[in-house]
């Protein structure tokens, strides 16, 4: 575990979950591991908030679930992205990138530019 972990920005967990399951179907614990893995162990996810978020997304029809078998031969619930979720992820990604650019622009502003 290298460096200081970042706390998750409010409202971004859903987006990260969508991204994680868009790569391959995952069970809940797998989602947690995948996010940590692709963030380079930089993001810290409250384990307690993960499942409410998963259920909220499933209820909203953005992800779907089915029971399958885990790597260690246990029954586990696998989540995958639905077409609606894919659309949502695309939109949120665009929006996030635009927002990030704007905020970066704001933060990079130098006194002489005013």
């Amino acid at each position: 575990v290298g460096g200081k972990q970042l706390d998750l920005l409010q409202g971004t967990l859903d987006m990260l979950i969508l991204k994680a399951v868009s790569l391959a179907p995952l069970h809940g614990y797998g989602v947690l591991l995948r996010i940590q893995q692709i963030s380079g162990e930089q993001l810290q996810i409250q384990q307690g908030s993960l499942y409410p978020a998963l259920y909220r997304l499933e209820h909203g029809g953005l992800i779907a679930s089915e029971w399958g078998e885990s790597e260690n031969k246990r029954r586990a619930k696998y989540y995958r992205l639905t077409p609606a979720g894919r659309k949502q992820l695309r939109e949120e990604t665009v929006q996030w990138n635009r927002m990030a650019a704007v905020i970066a622009g704001v933060l990079n502003t130098q006194p002489e530019e005013l």
Binding site: Y29, L32, Q46, Q47, P52, R75, A76
Partner: protein, 871 residues
């Protein structure tokens, strides 16, 4: 969900162990990092899933059930009170759903309009076919169907003989009613090309009963009386026309061309469907204008002013149960009042309970329950109470319906085992929700308001807030007011029954039996009724041991079903017919009728053995006839009518009898002419409307009637086997049936009124008892400081009196209007009868003072020391 979380924890744990951490420590870390507790996570998950409302609801339900288990007395009282209120309504809803709101077995049934011709006074008069032909030309009508109900006749098929209701209709029956026959075809216009058709439609029940559901009946021949008809179709199951008539029905077609089948009544009825955009009033106005012209022509032709002069147009549905409609609606009002009282009472109980639960609610609120959350909790308790009350009420309703099944079947043609149908059940669900809101909302809102006003540190038995008390006062007063209304109506009906019982009948009823011989009429078609049937019948009956005398009467007193009217014009017809038509009842009575019924003679003599077919025809009239006749300025000797066509057998009036109630106890006697039955010849003018139409035999016995009835039936069957099923009815029963409506209504309202009084008294008692218990401490202090027990008692009584007085005043005011609803059931008493009003006020005042005095006395008996110590 649990499995998933367990899997997560296990996987994490396994990963930690793989990192070289001790298993016990791994489990601890796993749980710790997962968050507070898995239960809390689960709750948030269910929340996210949208299950929160459901979970809360289940929790509230469980909590409510626990509350009920804590206070079984309260719960049972509430459920009983609600069961009374809702049960009475479930019963009435069932009855109304199957009567006034009965599904009509026709297409677009609510479009159908009933057209009725009425006379100058708005009474049913019946239209002639010639009138209907003119009506049919109206542009306001899209379709018109004429029909004529013949009543019960006999249908022969093979060896079976069934009594059926026969209706003659226009050939367009099925098209007009928008129904298709179940088997075969309907009438067509070719069926009536040459006068009334000889084809027959059966109803489903008859097809099952008399034809064994045989599909090969089509084309077969059946006989009605002595005429042969070809069966062409069977109507679908449930089809009936007239809508609530006899269970076995047949239809035959008639053309609308003024031709009449011999022996059928001349008047017809009509139904119509209107052109779009035409209102009932417009049709009535247009047809009345046409009818007025027709009536003038008719009067000019016959010189009798009995023709229909107006046309009434009403929706077919509103003509259903016309007689019973006001009674049914009055009962509906009564049970709704009872329900209102029950809800008010439960509301009051909940309010009282709300105060004792303030501490509990306070704690919940302190722990973070929002106001809406607490209101919801309390409302769910109310709904649960209401649902239980409804369930209990349904059971109650079903048992009441079963108890009265026979009466409901005979009076209102309800099915043998009436059960609340889907429509009633859904109405009840709505009703129970409404009840819960009605009695639950105010206490719930008030309870949460007082929580905010009062803090937790108050004693658990805190005194109720001002809002509480005002509302509870109002509720008790409202209960009293509703009770006053119910009891006043009940009192008026009871006085009506008493008045009817005192009506001088004009004849004796003990040891008098009536029998109405029913037989296929055609068997005596060309015979002399007196020789062939009635003479031998009366002789046989008279010979039965225990019979003192017997006589024919072509309609006995208090017969609601049948009356024969004679319209005679007297005086000068040149001056116009209007005021010179005398409508009088026409009877033919046996010589011994006076011996049987024992009415008194005012003048002259009754018929005797000297009145025979060869002697001069004689008649007696009643006192009312004399009073009206005297207006013509002529003496009774100038009575103009003759028995025979050629005026040879001129009738002489030989006596005046006392007035006898003819149709019902409540209707004043009509003028009446009685001919001597033994004198009438089949060729006489008056033979057909009397001897051939309707006859009863009145029998005077020396022994109880039920004892002798089988012998009478046997004697009758010996004359004609068709008479073996004749019903021998006691005159006493006829009288009872005659006031049956009022009696039944009074008994039912007595029950409702009693329930209402009991519920209202419980409410008053409960409220005062609660008030006393709340103020025990306060009373203790007063007594310790030297207050007199009598003063304490008075303090509570005065409070009760204020509530009762307010309730009584409001109740009296409302009942002044409510009694107008029942005016038509009253006899011998005015709707604003002061005696009844005072009586009811006195009863309620006394009863409620007793109910108030009990808790008040308890208050004055409080031991000061104990009261203070308890606090």
């Amino acid at each position: 969900m649990n499995e998933e979380i367990a899997f997560h924890l296990e996987s994490y744990q396994a990963d930690l162990i793989a990192q070289g951490i001790d298993p016990a420590e791994a489990r601890r870390r796993a749980r710790l990092e997962f968050g507070s507790s898995s239960a809390a996570v689960e709750e948030r998950c269910r929340d996210a899933y949208g299950l929160r409302l459901w979970d809360d609801f289940i929790a509230d339900l469980r909590y409510a059930l626990r509350q009920f288990r804590h206070a079984p007395g309260f719960t049972v009282t509430v459920i009983i009170v609600l069961a009374l209120g809702i049960g009475a309504n479930a019963t009435m809803f069932t009855v109304i759903s199957q009567t006034l709101l009965r599904r009509l077995p026709y297409g677009h049934a609510d479009e159908i309009v009933a057209l009725t011709a009425v006379d100058r006074e708005g009474k049913y008069a019946g239209a002639l076919d010639t009138d209907l032909i003119v009506w049919k030309t109206s542009h306001a009508l899209r379709e018109l169907l004429q029909w004529r109900n013949i009543g019960l006749t006999w249908l022969h098929y093979g060896t079976s003989l069934e009594q059926v209701e026969r209706t003659l209709t226009g050939p367009g029956l099925c098209g007009f009613l928008q129904v298709k026959p179940f088997l075969g075809r309907c009438f067509t216009s070719s069926d009536v090309r040459s006068g009334p058709g000889n084809v027959l439609l059966l109803n489903y029940t008859l097809w099952q009963k008399a034809f064994g559901s045989n599909r090969n009946v089509l084309g077969k021949t059946a006989r009605i009386d002595d005429k042969l008809y070809t069966i062409i179709g069977v109507m679908p199951e449930g089809f009936a026309f007239t809508p609530h008539g006899f269970p076995l029905q047949v239809w035959t077609p008639v053309p609308l061309d003024g031709t009449l089948e011999a022996g059928q009544p001349p008047s017809s009825d009509a139904m119509a469907r209107l052109q779009p955009g035409i209102s009932l009033e417009q049709v009535a106005a247009e047809l009345s204008a046409k009818q007025y012209v027709l009536a003038r022509q008719h009067v000019a032709k016959t010189s009798l002013d009995i023709a229909a002069v107006q046309v009434k147009a009403r929706s077919l549905r509103s003509t259903l149960y016309e007689e019973d409609r006001p009674a049914l609606l009055a009962f509906l009002a009564a049970v709704l009042t009872l329900w209102l009282i029950a809800c008010l009472n439960v509301s009051n109980l909940l309010l009282a309970r709300g105060v004792s639960r303030q501490r509990e609610l306070g704690i919940r609120s302190a722990l973070g329950a929002g106001r809406s959350r607490i209101v919801r909790q309390l409302l769910i308790e109310s709904f649960l109470l209401s649902a239980s009350g409804t369930a209990a009420g349904l059971v109650l309703a079903e048992s009441v319906l079963l108890t009265f099944a026979h009466l409901l079947h005979t009076r209102l043609q309800l099915p043998d085992h009436p059960v609340p149908d889907a429509r009633v059940l859904s109405a009840l669900v709505a009703f129970s929700l409404l009840s819960a809101l009605l009695f639950g909302l105010a206490p719930a809102l008030l309870a949460t308001r007082t929580i905010r006003e009062q803090s937790l540190h108050r004693q658990s038995s805190s005194s109720p807030g001002r809002g509480h008390l005002r509302l509870q006062h109002a509720l008790v007063s409202a209960e009293v007011a509703c009770t006053v209304v119910l009891l006043v109506v009940c009192g008026l009906l009871l006085r009506t029954v008493l008045a009817l019982r005192k009506v001088p009948l004009g004849f004796r009823i003990d040891h008098v039996a009536l029998v109405h011989p029913q037989f296929p009429g055609y068997t005596y078609k060309d015979k002399d009724m007196q020789h062939a049937l009635y003479g031998p019948l009366i002789e046989r009956i008279r010979a039965v041991h225990g019979v003192q005398s017997a006589a024919l009467t072509t309609v006995a007193p208090l017969n609601k079903e049948f009356s024969m009217m004679l319209y005679m014009s007297y005086g000068d017809t040149d001056t116009g017919p209007d005021s010179h038509t005398l409508a009088t009842q026409l009877h033919a009575d046996g010589r011994d009728l006076q011996k049987v019924l024992g009415f008194r003679m005012r003048q002259g003599r009754y018929f005797n053995a000297s009145d025979t077919r060869t002697s001069q025809p004689v008649a007696v009239v009643n006192q009312t006839f004399v009073n009206l006749w005297s207006k013509s300025g002529k003496s009774l000797d100038e009575f103009p009518l003759s028995l025979a066509k050629d005026k040879k057998r001129k009738i002489r009036i030989i006596g005046v009898i006392d007035d006898v109630r003819q149709i019902s106890l409540a209707e004043p006697p009509a003028p009446e002419i009685d001919l001597c039955a033994e004198q009438l010849l089949p060729t006489d003018n008056f033979y057909q409307p009397t001897m051939r139409t309707y006859a009863e035999i009145a029998i005077r016995t020396a022994v109880p009637i039920e004892q002798i009835a089988p012998d009478i039936r046997a004697a009758m069957a010996a004359v004609d086997p068709a008479l073996k099923g004749s019903v021998v009815e006691a005159m006493q029963q006829v009288v009872n049936d005659n006031i049956g409506d009022q009696l039944f209504a009074a008994h039912l309202l007595e029950t409702f009124g009693g329930c209402a009084l009991l519920v209202a008294l419980t409410g008053l008692y409960g409220f005062l008892a609660y008030l006393v218990s709340q103020r025990t401490h306060d009373i203790g202090v007063r007594l310790a400081l030297g207050a007199q027990p009598a003063a304490i008692q008075w303090m509570f009584l005065a409070r009760a009196l204020a509530m009762i007085a307010a309730g009584l005043a409001a109740g009296v005011l409302v009942s002044l209007f409510a009694t107008r609803l029942v005016t038509r059931f009253l006899y011998g008493v005015r709707p604003n009868d002061l005696t009844t009003l005072f009586g009811v006020v006195l009863v309620i005042l006394t009863a409620s003072l007793v109910a108030a005095w009990l808790p008040a006395r308890r208050a004055s008996n409080v031991e000061p020391m104990e009261a203070l110590r308890e606090a």
